[in-house]
């Protein structure tokens, strides 16, 4: 399992009973340095962009209005030399999380320019080698039904994307209001 901005997972790999104290110290220093590095990466919210692994950043979960579902927007990048596939997402806040795509087409009915929008679930999204794209309003998004807890703007929640090759890539998404989606997200990038 890889982690984008959640550096607590390092704890799970840091115990080995057969190491000498010297090696342990070196390893500890390395862990501290690595943790700091990750902490800096997490704080600047730039994640592991330079490393050669599939990663995501700028993740936001939107506080739903009324009893409506919630949505997650984020940016995924695949710096590797091979294509990968986004298969799904998971989070402790819900068991009903789906990838959706907004089908939009503009027509003209009489003289009225009509901008039809229709949301469809999609089973996966292909990430070409050395590419990046955003899940953003009017394009693709992650829809979340039946939240188990109230989302409070300013909080953040654990979020995991599952890829065919890269496996699970964990991180956190910040809770924002709908009014802030406009500035928090980029314009839709619909290239595949």
């Amino acid at each position: 399992m890889r982690s984008v901005s959640d550096f607590n997972c390092l704890d799970s790999d840091s115990s080995n009973s057969h190491m000498s104290s010297h090696i342990l110290r070196v390893v500890n220093k390395t862990i501290v340095a690595f943790t700091l590095l990750l902490a800096v990466a997490a704080c600047s919210n730039s994640s592991s962009e330079d490393s050669k692994i599939v990663n995501w950043k700028r993740g936001y979960i939107v506080q739903p209005i009324g009893a409506a579902p919630s949505v997650v927007y984020l940016e995924i990048s695949n710096p590797t030399d091979s294509a990968d596939t986004l298969l799904g997402a998971s989070s402790p806040v819900s068991d009903e999380i789906e990838i959706h795509e907004e089908m939009m087409h503009s027509t003209s009915n009489g003289d009225m320019p009509v901008n039809m929008v229709h949301m469809m679930p999609v089973s996966h999204i292909t990430l070409e080698a050395k590419s990046s794209f955003a899940l953003s309003p009017g394009g693709r998004h992650i829809m979340i039904h039946n939240l188990k807890e109230e989302l409070v703007p300013g909080d953040s929640v654990e979020f995991t994307l599952k890829f065919a090759k890269a496996g699970e890539v964990r991180g956190k998404v910040a809770v924002i209001e709908y009014a802030d989606v406009d500035t928090a997200t980029t314009r839709s990038n619909r290239s595949r």
Binding site: M112, V114, A184
Partner: protein, 229 residues
Amino acid sequence: MLRRTRIGRLSVRLRSWGVFAACLVAGAGLLLSVTSCAPRIGEDPTAFKGVLIPTPTERPHFTLTTTDGEPYNFFEKTKGRLTFLFFGYTNCPDVCPVHMANLSSAIYRLTFEDRQKISVIFVTADPKRDTPAVLKKWLSGFDRSFVGLTGSEEEVDLVHAALNLGKPVRDEPRKDGQYAVGHAGQIIVIQPNDTSYVVYPFGTRQQDWSNDLPMLIDGTFRTKSLKPK
């Protein structure tokens, strides 16, 4: 989820605020870089952003039901007012709430006097799930002055047809009862002279609304939008 102590929760909150603040800074930076690159040579950044309807249409006549169960004669209730008319459904997590939030945020930044000149009407394309109570709660998440209208599927479809918006497409419900609804994504603006000249497709940003609202309020968009580009 995590069982947090008061202090633990505070520190988690502080940390998430830090990340959030960093996100905001990053967002603002990106926005700046986008907006600073956006105006190309010869392009007026204050140009009108709305999409003009080739043949302006009249304020439509229809009667639906408010979230309080009262009949609402659209023409009579809104005539002479700058009116924003939008169709959608509350189970939509993306287009409908983002479009509504962007418009309401820009309206909120207007002066009190200007806000009094505006009516925002939301007609559900999904009356089966959008009961008056559901619709009322959802709209109050944006602005309590927004009017929510509903009726039977046939009634709301007739209103769509009257406005040349096509017919909403309601998918077959899945096993869990969920279904999506295809609908027109534009917000229709009707001027105080009861004529509609302009629509705003989905993707209209808050800065676009803030740019256009004063021109829609004073009517100058008609001269400004006709300037050669």
